[in-house]
Symmetry: D2
Subunit: 337 residues, 4 copies
């Protein structure tokens, strides 16, 4: 259930309402909108006496919520959430471009890439420090050294850093460096990790699991928001299907539905979504044309020598072309870039 | 194997080469390009003596073909095939828009829709006369009466007609009316039907099967082209995956790869690909932004009253908006529309 | 809706009821059970006046049918349908074993295989005459010559013949030879073919489509039964999933559900279901242990030289082992074999 | 690469070989078989000089390993690994039955269930204490209280305890109580958790991920074994496919292949694999008939009142029937039970 407050409701009234809801055995979550404030009441609200609630001070009306996800639902907050990355914002109507190498490999590689993507107009730098890999014998990332190199690249270019956190043990370390904590597809339902990033206030980018439904994805986001961290960005990166010619099947058809269902901002990763470099720019254009808040792509100075995901990395020159296309599509969609 | 001919090769030389190839136990297919002509040799060509072939009159060189599909491969014909619909062309660098109702239901419905889509700039009219339906108790189409109504709509608007042929029995009838024979997803591997439409010279639109790989799809097209009908258009319409919130999962990520692999023109059907009307225009934009030769969408005067597929049909006003978007994206992609 | 008749209802009463139902704009299908007879009424029966029906002569009661499939539903006929193959029966509580080569290749091959499987205790012989193949350049079967060889094998061994019919054009020919018409996975929704085999009274084995749901499969069977052919056997042969180590994913988990939903007999094909010979016998045992009416497997004198599907064919000695296992499991399940 | 040792190789020679391998920049893993001992050499062994290795003391020969998984491969250890649960063993040729409630809910529930499954012949008790749930608002388990109740049930019945560990934080606590640590499907690629359970010597049951390939599953097991914990049991529990009538699609077709590829013991969970109670016993029979080391099922005194997964729980009487069937199938398969 959602309690819609009077525009004139006071802080005291809100606190008193929270207190009442808790006393009745439910969890209240205050959701501040630009026009109105609401309180999402979580629990088995069928037992709740609606008419009692509507008579309380500060309450305008109540509204049922039909979906199992409450706090991330567009029902409870009509405006898209804006996630602030410092020098960039995701969800404010602009098209945010995040680019960088799959893995941080060398100082030279990450600085050269950061400078190039900055010059071309990217808004944030991605780079893997801790890499979850299918095989225990594969390159697992440069770890803290990679985080330091990313910080150096940020210091020089001003680009905020998006990097993956793969477990709760390394979360405090990664959180010291990252501007956005990426939760990878394999960890989308790692609920302990979701709860820990939910306890922080750092932005989180939640990638869709390989075989996760829209509902499961939003429920995973709910885990984070339910702990008080509203700064969640959803990232569609392709799902697993019978088709193996492409690495994954990028599910752009879900995007308009996703935007109807949730107020969280949405970005698309066409690099993992396709798995082949010549498909990345066309699908980045497609994502922008569907209507999203951003795209994230992998860029490498020498894809053939990359330690991970080389076949899907854009060269510097391919990224330049992609940015030119992004600017043209964003113009058409009425989005700043 | 592909035999590349001299630019100066004569008709007699080509005939003689065909004869030689047949005598050696293989099937020759002449593929005329704008710059050069080639002969695709089908069969177990490992046994073929290459050096003998290259010494024959009119031959420039030979080239192995790695894929199981030969005639539809981009290897054997670098230029995209142009399929001529009379008043429109698919594959010539323009963006072709095909629109109309899922099923032809009434004279009023089909004429009103035809007039509207024509006015908005569509290039062809779609409409189902024979409908393959999951249940034997559902509406199966108005059959010949529908074909007559489509012909009437064509006579008035000049729009060529795209309509589905569901079996070999009704093929002669449908072929008398249709400008493009649509093969539906369920029939993609109905090889007897593919062979019969391969014997005609009418354009064929081959929809991708619900769970068909790229390779199976191209092999199905090969069945048609191998009978001599080169006028094949491929139509991506979504695949079946674990995600059931959308009717199908539109696989736009396959498109750039498809265009590298085949010279056949490619269109996208975002109506079946998404299954919900509010997703159609965004995905039509996405398809155009990936780079395709056309899009096909369902339009109905009153979607709520449609006898089939109402939830995914665009209203007249939604189609008008879509066409405005198509024009803007096609401009950006450098495509006439 | 289902009209349940009095045990004492006469033929005249049944005819009169059919007439009444038709006059009301619905289609009646008489379903004769061992204990009672019922009439399934197909159409939008919400408009039907139940109380009027129950007052008619010979009627005991009416019963709503919740599923979109009517005639194949276990609701309308509690006993499993028994399909008679002449010398064998499917659905009578026994375990029927159908075995033979994927394709009929030579007289020697088919006769040797028929003799061997007969000697080991098989109840029917399978063998492909018309082969739908992914590529137009692959072996398409020996056609009528294959049918003649199968007939010769039947004459010698007494085994009824199961062979695929791939289109309506060759149906009359195939029907002259076959004891069971197999509809392949690719043709499961080839409705014109379903209707034509529905017009015959020959047993039909309907394989599940590669990506067909349980409901779609039963609706396809409904197409056949709705034309009056009740002799339909369902064959689970694996579905397409993300896992490519096996050719298909054999869906044994659906079998108990399928048996609750339909009265049609069910068999399993572990050859296509796994695609590798060492997996066939274990999965044949599993199928028998789940509880089915039969299994169908591919057997070849020399799998390495087979023209199609060699990797999944059992050798003669492997089939002998399989039959020993089948006898032991059928004993445990209380099934004759 | 695998270094096969002489039967007479001494401990000193093995230590010296390990030392040499490490000095060359590779990781050695000693694999003790009943007949012979081998050392798996992990790293890019293309650079390794084979002839040098074969000349070292104690070495018989070397053997390349073709699969990306080394230590779990059947290549390196022909005998199935036996995992000792104290009072039961998995992988020794017997059929192990693990049964119990999805979640531990009350003292009465868990004790009654433990007594019943013990009486019927089960070898181990399953029960969830920490439950990863799709929704943050669902019942998440009784946590430590549940572990204590499981310990009480073990004390009374002697049944070893199988319970899920969902994160590294609660691992020390769960490991104090559990006889087998279950890693759930959602955590199959939670590599940090795999590494931590790899550091212990407690048996681990690794469930297959919802959309994990056979290779990914074995690579996940490799993460555990590579840390020195060889006590790994694989559990097939169904994969996610397009079919939604069943909760998952139980992939029994992969089992024979899995057993060829790995020496780790394999069990099957037909409760999650089907999701409906009437399907559990038939699929447990099927699993046993394919040939596995055990089955794990959910049993509840009152399924309709279960806090999780009620629809798939067996009643006490259904479990009794299942055990009778298990005994008969295991007899047929020559397995002790």
């Amino acid at each position: 259930m959602l309690i819609i407050l009077n525009p004139a409701a006071t802080t005291e009234q809100i606190e008193s309402l929270n207190h009442t809801v808790r006393n009745m055995g439910f969890l209240p979550h205050v959701i501040a909108g630009t026009d109105r404030t609401a309180i999402a009441v979580v629990g088995d609200t069928k037992k709740l006496d609606e008419s009692y609630i509507t008579r309380l001070d500060g309450v305008d009306s109540t509204q049922p919520t039909s979906q199992p996800y409450k706090l991330v639902s567009r029902d409870v907050k009509p405006q898209t959430t804006v996630v602030d990355l410092g020098t960039a914002r995701v969800g404010d109507g602009s098209l945010c471009v995040i680019a960088g190498p799959c893995s941080v490999e060398t100082r030279k590689q990450v600085l050269a890439t950061a400078r190039h993507v900055k010059k071309c107009g990217a808004h944030a730098l991605r780079g893997g420090a801790f890499k979850p890999r299918t095989s225990p014998y594969e390159f697992q990332g440069l770890r803290e050294q990679a985080l330091e190199l990313l910080a150096e690249a940020r210091a020089e270019t001003g680009l905020p850093i998006v990097t993956e956190v793969k477990d709760t043990e390394t979360l405090p370390l990664v959180a010291r460096y990252a501007d956005v904590l990426q939760i990878g597809a394999r960890n989308m339902q790692n609920y302990s990790l979701l709860e820990r990033v939910g306890d922080l206030r750092l932005p989180v980018m939640l990638k869709r699991g390989l075989s996760s439904t829209l509902k499961e994805w939003l429920m995973a986001a709910e885990y984070i928001v339910a702990r008080g961290n509203n700064n969640v960005i959803l990232c569609e990166r392709g799902i697993r299907t019978f088709e193996t010619e492409t690495r994954n099947t990028l599910d752009l058809g879900i995007i308009p539905l996703l935007r109807e269902r949730t107020h969280l901002p949405v970005i698309v990763d066409p690099s993992h979504g396709t798995g082949y470099a010549s498909g990345v720019t066309p699908l980045a254009r497609a994502a922008a044309a569907v209507g999203v808040d951003g795209v994230m792509v992998e860029v490498h100075p020498e894809p053939a020598k990359a330690l991970s995901d080389g076949p899907q990395a854009l060269t510097f020159s391919m990224f330049e072309t992609m940015m030119r296309d992004m600017r043209r599509i964003s113009g058409l969609m009425g989005q700043a870039i």
